[in-house]
């Protein structure tokens, strides 16, 4: 597995999930915001996948077992609270990751320096919505807690070291935990008690072991491209 593929797949798959919100968001401003984040991520994915090969071949012609994204990003949108919980977990992770990469001299330093600005915006968006939903109404609090709880078990995988990504994974994990805990507490939410990883989820996505909704997502994403082999679009 190349590191570019792992990071690129994360961005590609999450971008796709966010794209599913188009036309369904709770308020017009969120149509703009979610599409904006999806576009940023797709831009990152295209740069990263191009480092690993041909972006379209990689996106549209690999099967499920060859994708290297973490399982967190492939989780279905469910509702706005689940979507925000997924954004919170991932954007805090991605920001810490890109900050370290931008500070280093590896092959991703240039990309990370640009992307970290986008990701800071994503994190800000996710944090503010976590606060609004957690500390909003009784219903929004309950839904946000449910989203945060449901996705917690997928967060351990974020910190499984990726070969070729030269960063301090332990400090990434520590700062992630501190940031996420701080946001959840300010949002009057309970930090989930369960394990952040287990036998099933630990590092599975990075090894090409995914969750069931992912195959269906790929079927939709790849269907047209695969129906016209060799065509250019």
């Amino acid at each position: 597995m190349t590191a570019a593929l792992a990071l690129g797949d994360d961005a590609l798959v999450l971008s796709h999930r966010l794209g599913e919100w188009a036309g369904h968001a709770p308020v017009l401003e969120e149509e703009v915001a979610l599409a904006n984040i999806a576009l940023d991520l797709l831009g990152q994915a295209r740069v990263l996948l191009s480092l690993a090969g041909d972006e379209d071949e990689l996106a549209f012609l690999r099967e499920e077992r060859a994708f290297r994204n973490v399982q967190l990003v492939e989780q279905p949108n469910v509702d706005f609270a689940h979507t925000i919980a997924r954004q919170l977990y991932f954007s805090v992770y991605q920001r810490g990751l890109y900050e370290q990469l931008a500070a280093g001299e590896g092959e991703f330093a240039g990309l990370a320096a640009k992307a970290v600005k986008e990701v800071a915006y994503h994190q800000d968006h996710a944090e503010h919505w976590t606060l609004r939903l957690g500390d909003g109404t009784a219903e929004s609090h309950q839904r946000m807690q449910r989203g945060v709880d449901a996705l917690w078990r997928f967060t351990g995988e974020l910190f499984q070291p990726v070969e070729g990504v030269e960063i301090d994974w332990q400090s990434l994990q520590n700062s992630w935990l501190a940031t996420v805990t701080g946001v959840l507490e300010r949002a009057t939410l309970t930090v989930p008690a369960g394990p952040r990883s287990g036998a099933w989820t630990a590092g599975a996505g990075r090894q090409g072991i995914h969750t069931e909704p992912f195959g269906r997502m790929l079927a939709e994403m790849q269907h047209l491209h695969r129906s016209h082999p060799g065509a250019s679009w």
Binding site: H24, P26, A35, L39, R46, T137, S140, S232, W233
Partner: protein, 349 residues
């Protein structure tokens, strides 16, 4: 994709909501009306605080609301293909376009709000079926090529309609249109380029492109509204300079633009009567199926039900999110201020 259309003239007529005369209420200050008429005649802009005839205000609210609604309903047929876009480049372009449309909706609701209405009120009317959106968005996107046909034809028709609106007499609307038209032209070129790629592609891609153009051509021509002799409000709108050209004039302009573009794409337009008329200096074209147009306007088009249902569902399912944002804003407003806050529904940003 912004298809403000002349549909509204027929709709308004059907609803009987537009007054045909420019007068304000009984006893309105004649001097104010004279000043308004003079400003419009001199091509000056009417601004939110200026006096304006009630009918002018009502007519603008309706047109701008319909335009805003068209932007947000218009997201649906294209968003239908975001998850299936065949390359990452095309996917990025399509997502950016749908995002722009949401932004256009926001500009237009804001512009409409300068006339004393609110976005919530307008959305409620849309959801209740009391305000319309462009008839074009009631057609389904059945293949990827439809995304290109919408860009080329639907956005093309919208731009033909909207460029003159940049000179509309109402300032906030005209300024919103300047921004919107820039983005629309970009979308239109992208749609054309998408079809060009298909036209130069495999036989299957070419067939897909031709099929899409066959399905979208006539509905696009309908976007200019009923023929001039059946469009009673055009005249008043033109006097007020809300509208600058007649429906038929704009439709002719659009046909004349599209014919050479279709040739360059290597595609045909589905009209056996389409031919150059040397004498007129324009293309003659076949007659539009106005029965179909009326049916779509009445709610009997292929996707009317689906579009409105999805819009209502997004709104209803998002209610708890908007409530949460409002409740949070009130709580945190209360923390910062000792006075009792007034709960409002505006904290949804």
């Amino acid at each position: 994709m912004a298809a403000v259309t002349a549909d509204q003239t027929t709709q308004a007529k059907a609803q009987g909501t537009v007054q045909a005369t420019a007068g304000g209420p009984e006893g309105a200050d004649g001097a104010q009306l004279a000043a308004f008429d003079a400003a419009v005649a001199a091509d000056e802009r009417i601004e939110p605080r200026d006096w304006m005839p009630d009918a002018y205000r009502a007519s603008l609210v309706r047109q701008m609301a319909q335009h805003a609604h068209s932007e947000i309903i218009g997201m649906q047929p294209e968003a239908n293909w975001i998850s299936r876009a065949p390359s990452l480049r095309r996917k990025a372009i399509l997502m950016a376009k749908v995002q722009d449309e949401a932004g256009h909706g926001l500009y237009l609701y804001s512009a409409a709000e300068t006339l004393g209405t609110s976005r919530e009120e307008l959305l409620d009317k849309l959801h209740a079926g009391r305000q319309r959106y462009s008839s074009i968005f009631n057609y389904p996107t059945l293949t990827w090529a439809d995304v290109g046909a919408i860009g080329w034809l639907v956005d093309g028709a919208a731009i033909t309609n909207q460029v003159p609106l940049c000179r509309c007499s109402y300032g906030p609307y005209a300024r919103a249109m300047v921004r919107i038209c820039k983005e629309e032209s970009f979308h239109q070129r992208q749609g054309y380029e998408l079809l060009l790629a298909l036209g130069r592609g495999t036989p299957a891609q070419r067939d897909m492109a031709q099929d899409a153009v066959n399905r979208w051509w006539w509905p696009s021509l309908m976007m200019f509204g009923p023929p001039d002799d059946a469009s009673a409000h055009s005249e008043q709108s033109m006097i007020w300079k809300i509208k600058r050209h007649s429906n038929d004039e704009l439709r002719q302009r659009f046909v004349d633009i599209c014919v050479p573009q279709a040739e360059a794409l290597g595609l045909t337009l589905p009209d056996p009567d389409l031919r150059w008329n040397e004498e007129r200096g324009h293309h003659d074209f076949g007659s539009i199926d106005w029965t179909e147009f009326q049916e779509v306007l009445k709610g009997n088009g292929p996707c009317n039900e689906q579009r409105l249902t999805q819009r209502r569902r997004a709104h209803e399912e998002g209610a708890w999110v908007r409530d949460a944002a409002a409740a949070y804003a009130v709580k945190h407003h209360a923390e910062k201020h000792t006075t009792t806050p007034t709960p409002t529904a505006e904290a949804t940003a």
